[in-house]
């Protein structure tokens, strides 16, 4: 009955997520999409890339999806991350939760993205004109 989609992909299609989360017992669906933001301060990012430790990342994403599904009795859950080079405005992550009521889907969706950012072994590298930086690597 429960549906969990956990994926690492090259390109995220944001149009498909609602269909994946649609469920006859769901009154509320909450989706978060994280996208590459244009830098407005400091140096300009020329390009950007995500790298994943794929086996482990999928395992952690699966754990997060399963925990949320149990905790908030979700009817469907999606956790999908993109890897490889990304452009400004391109979606890099989409998480979503489908539940009978809206409280549960909002809380679950927030948990999904917060926990993904904390635990899933995926790394973002920003390329500037003269250097590149692994985000969050240094204090």
């Amino acid at each position: 009955m429960k549906k969990a989609i956990v994926e690492i992909v090259d390109v995220i299609d944001t149009g498909q997520v609602y269909q994946e989360l649609s469920h006859p017992k769901s009154g509320g669906i909450c989706v978060f999409v994280g996208a590459v933001r244009e830098f407005t301060q400091g140096e300009e990012v020329v390009s950007l890339e995500f790298e994943a430790y794929r086996t482990m990342a999928l395992k952690e994403m699966e754990k997060i999806a399963m925990h949320a599904s149990d905790q908030w009795q979700l009817n469907a859950v999606v956790v999908r991350h993109a890897v490889g080079p990304k452009e400004i405005e391109e979606p890099v992550v989409v998480v979503g939760a489908s539940a009978p009521h809206r409280d549960a889907c909002f809380t679950a969706c927030r948990y999904l993205i917060d926990t993904l950012k904390e635990r899933v072994p995926i790394w973002k590298k920003e390329f500037f004109k003269n250097k590149s930086v692994w985000v969050s690597a240094h204090p």
Partner: protein
């Protein structure tokens, strides 16, 4: 013993797979592996955090390392 490297860990070591020589004393725990890394590549000591995964699960310092384990260095993650 082979150690997978990702993100900045790969840049610090200069490759994506680190082979620890069996002629030396191999680390027997996660803690010892971290110590070996930091002493060989001091830049590991400057990261916001340094985690190790054993068989694709986060492993605490006291976890022991066995032949055939898939070991990976997990520098601070920045997905999402």
């Amino acid at each position: 013993m082979e150690v997978l490297l990702f993100g900045i860990a790969k840049d610090i070591v200069g490759k994506s797979l680190l082979r620890l020589d069996t002629s030396e004393n191999l680390p027997t725990s996660v803690k010892e592996l971290k110590q070996t890394l930091v002493s060989s590549f001091p830049q590991f000591g400057k990261l916001s955090s340094l985690a190790v995964a054993v068989n694709s699960e986060y492993a605490e310092d006291d976890v022991s390392l066995k032949q055939g384990d898939e070991i990976a260095i997990i520098p601070p993650v920045s997905g999402g």
